[in-house]
Each structure stands twice: as C-alpha cells, then as structure tokens.
C-alpha cells in the first residue's frame, strides 16, 4: 500500500551572487519563499516545516499563490530535491507529470522519441515494446509516427507527449497542473485518461491554481503560503 509521510520538511537553498563592484540592490522582494541573509549570502526558504501524512486512496490538491512552494513540494516528493531538514518517507513508486515534452528531439521520429522517453523513464526494452502500440493508437498519429518530430504540428507533438507521459500504472502520481493536449476531440479523450489515471493511482497529488478542478478531483486541499502550510482541509464533497 503506498503511503507518504513528511515530517517537518524544510528546503533552504543559497542564492549565489556574481562577483560585482556594483552596490547591491536592496529592493529585491520577488514573490515566493522567504529571502534571508544579506549581500552575497542570501538564501531562500522554499519549504518550512511541512508535515503531511497520506495513505492509499488520498487525493491531495495543492493550492497557493505563485512561489508558495507547490512545485518544490512536488519535487521533494518525487525525489528531485533533497530536503535540507526533516524526514521524507515514501512507500511506493512515484511517477510525475511535470514537463512532458522534456527530451523530445525534433530530428528523431515519433517512434524513436517514444523509445527515448521510455528509456529516460527507466522502462525496459520489453516494456517499451509492449506499450508502443497503445501509445501510437492513443496519440492517433497514424503513419506520422515514423516521421521526424519536426514535421509535426504543435498539437500533434503535444498529443504524442501526452500519450507517452500517461502510459503507466501509477502508484503515487504527482502533477503540476492538470495536463491536456490537442484539439477538442482529443481533449475529451485526454481528460478521461487523466481521470482514469487519477483514479487508478494509489495516491495522487495535484498542484493547481484552479479551485474548481481541485474540488472536483481531490479529497483534501493543502494551501501553502511562503513555504508553510496555511491550511489542510478535506473538500466539502468528500464521500
């Protein structure tokens, strides 16, 4: 059974400055995180004391303004960032839908791109071969699958990326915004695939700025503000 346990997780990183003779700019106050330190020793607190327990069946929505730490939290759970403090304990394989066109190559054919993407995801040769027909079928690219990607329209490339990225059985699924692709008919198909994925996943975490979406798909909503948990509430419609 998948589970996620975060205890007092924090993420602080130093922002390095260039060597410069110019007087330091002290007006700096962008959104997001908390900036500490002075001069060349500035650091950003992106997450601060985040504790969280999720068990199988949980659908967590992450809300909060830009720079609240939503993506950072997702990436800590996914394992891209190592937290600077606290405990992260995750049971189960984590799959992520972040940048679904990452690593796509214009010169390679659609089929080759699926292979490469699969290899990057750590799929075995057999897994790639097994999923290939389904991916091609879902993307509706037909004979275009053996054309170089640069010959695709943006929508076609997006459909392929979507088809590859969602071709797995997630145990724990983390997403930065709900993804979709293509024209109207494909969007509907993509939406039902996303719903199916979210349902199949043992645990799903979705960061989004769309409150309606979060209410519809999640049973808990975590609101972050400046790296801290502001509130963690069940959605009204639960059960």
């Amino acid at each position: 059974m998948p589970s996620i346990h975060l205890d007092n997780v924090s993420l602080v990183y130093r922002v390095r400055h260039k060597l410069s003779f110019r007087p330091a700019d002290r007006r700096l106050s962008p959104p997001g995180g908390v900036i500490g330190g002075r001069g060349t020793k500035r650091f950003v607190t992106a997450l601060d004391g985040v504790s969280l327990d999720l068990k199988a069946g949980d659908r967590l929505g992450l809300a909060g303004p830009n720079g609240a730490g939503k993506t950072t939290l997702l990436k800590v759970i996914y394992g891209v960032y190592e937290p600077s403090g606290g405990v992260v304990k995750i049971d189960g394989r984590v799959d992520a839908l972040f940048n679904i066109t990452l690593g796509f190559r214009g010169e390679a054919t659609g089929r080759r791109n699926v292979e490469l993407r699969g290899l990057i995801n750590g799929w075995s040769k057999e897994e790639i071969a097994e999923r290939m027909p389904e991916i091609i079928e879902f993307s509706e690219l037909g004979e275009f699958i053996d054309m170089p990607l640069k010959a695709y329209s943006q929508g076609m490339a997006a459909r392929l990326a979507f088809s590859v990225a969602t071709s797995f059985e997630p145990e724990i699924l983390v997403m930065d915004e709900w993804i979709g692709a293509g024209d109207k008919s494909f969007q509907d198909k993509a939406a039902s695939r996303m719903n199916a994925l979210a349902e199949k996943a043992g645990i799903m975490i979705l960061a989004s700025h769309n409150p309606t979406l979060l209410k519809r798909t999640c049973n808990k909503i975590l609101t972050l503000e400046k790296g801290k948990i502001k509130s963690l509430e069940p959605t009204a419609s639960t059960d």
């Binding site: 990183y13 130093r14 390095r16 990436k75 996914y78 394992g79 891209v80 960032y81 190592e82 972040f98 940048n99 990452l102 690593g103 190559r105 010169e107 390679a108 080759r112 292979e115 490469l116 290899l119 990057i120 750590g122 040769k125």
Partner: protein
C-alpha cells in the same frame, strides 16, 4: 563517515542501470550534430584528417614518416582529451532541464558524454589508422600497449568528466579558464614537437600531465617499446581522478541542482 562514498557508488550503479538510455542518447546527439548534412558523422573523420593532413603536408614533409606518425598519433589523443575537458566543464549546466525535471542519477550525464566522445574518437581513429597505413608505420606487437593505453584513457574519462562537471557547476568561471588552458595546451603539449634537453619545452614536456597520456598511446607505435613510466603517471592520475570523482559526486550531487 564514508557516506559520500556510498552515495557515489549508488549514483554510479544507478547510472549503469540506465546504460541503454545514455547509449541511445549519445548516438542521437552525434546524429543531431550533423543533421541535414549529406556526410553526417563522416565529418568527424574529415575534421581530423584535414587538420593532421595539412600539418603533415606543410611541416612534416621534410622530416619524414616518423614525424608524421608522431603528429598523427599525438593529435588524435589531444583531440579526444581537449574535447572531453571542454565539454565536461559545462555538462551539468547544459543538462539543467533534465536535472531539474527528472530523477536520473548524475552519472547518466557523465556516461552520456563519455559515450559521445568515444563515438567521435572512433571516427578519428579510422583516419588515424588510415594515415599510419599510408605512412608505412610497421605494425608490431607493441601496438597492444597502445591499445591498453587507449583503454586506460577511456577508463579515466568518466572520472575526469565528473570532477570537471561538478567543479564547473559551482564555479562557472572555470569554463573560461579551461578554454584558455586547452588553447595553450595545443602548443605546450608535445603534439608537434619533440622534447629537447635544456630547452624550455623540455620542462613543459616533463611537467605537463597531458604528455603522459599522449605517450602511452604514441610511444608503442612510433618507438615499438612500452613507456612504463608514462603508464605509471597516467595510472596515478587516474587513481586520483577517480577518488576525486567519487568524493565530488557523493558529496555534492544533491547540491548541484541548487546552483544551476
């Protein structure tokens, strides 16, 4: 205490498990660099032949086939070394999107660059063998030492890439330092000249670490003997490089994402 060592081994082990990924990516990289060209990667062969061929035609003619083979071998190794060094210093910066978007171990990028460099060197190697044949260089059993020399260089490559890539991520200025070193290295390394007692270049021959990497591949073919001393030096440099590589990988692999 030795936590970094285990972390480094874990990273390498995971990287090796992804071997099909970095092999495929390296192959794609080479093809991509020559996209839309008719000759494709054959250009890698032409690049090498054009440079060495011109040099031999202008400077080597009067000095005989021995000198020409010396230059052809020396430049072959130098081209590989300088390319690896140049590419590795900015490796993690170039891979920023992948590093920030996936969980791939850093060694995947290291092995990918190693593979790329080996493919490039493979094309140059064809040119080198062709030149040696034309020059009538005698094939002896000592060539085996050259082969071992090449394998030693290949074995050290991932370590050197790791050290330089980690350093380059933390100190971006190194990119330009290294660029200068490589440019000067072309003259300060015995590629086109023989060591001479007393002359200033004798010192450069002795103190320049690149010398020994050239020698382990070159001497067995040009002189037909085993350059034992050069092998020792390279082995030592290799051991130090791997230690540094394991340390920098294990110690800093989690910080790199924050400095890119």
């Amino acid at each position: 205490m030795l936590k970094w060592l285990w972390a480094a081994f874990a990273d390498l082990r995971e990287g090796i498990a992804f071997r099909r990924a970095w092999m495929a990516l390296a192959g794609e990289d080479i093809t991509d660099q020559h996209r839309r060209t008719a000759l494709g990667p054959i250009w890698l062969l032409i690049n090498y032949l054009a440079f060495v061929g011109t040099f031999i035609a202008i400077f080597g003619y009067a000095r005989g086939a021995g000198f020409s083979a010396y230059v052809a071998l020396g430049f072959f190794v130098w081209m590989y070394l300088s390319e690896v060094i140049n590419q590795s210093i900015s490796l993690f910066v170039r891979e920023e999107n992948f590093i920030k978007g996936t969980r791939l171990p850093l060694s995947v990028y290291v092995f990918r660059l190693t593979m790329q460099s080996l493919i490039r060197a493979g094309y140059a190697l064809i040119g080198l063998l062709g030149l040696l044949f034309i020059l009538g260089t005698p094939i002896t059993m000592a060539w085996m030492w050259s082969l071992i020399g090449i394998l030693l260089i290949v074995a050290i490559t991932p370590a050197a890439i790791t050290v330089l890539a980690v350093a380059g991520a933390f100190f971006p200025d190194l990119q330009f330092v290294v660029g200068n070193v490589i440019r000067l290295g072309l003259f300060l390394t015995p590629i086109f000249w023989y060591p001479a007692e007393g002359a200033i270049r004798g010192h450069f021959y002795f103190w320049n670490p690149f010398t020994y990497f050239l020698e382990i591949v070159r001497v067995p073919i040009t002189d037909g003997v085993l350059p034992l001393h050069a092998f020792y030096v390279c082995g030592l440099i290799g051991a130090i490089s791997w230690l540094l590589a394991l340390w920098s990988l294990g110690r800093f692999r989690r910080q790199i994402i924050f400095v890119l």
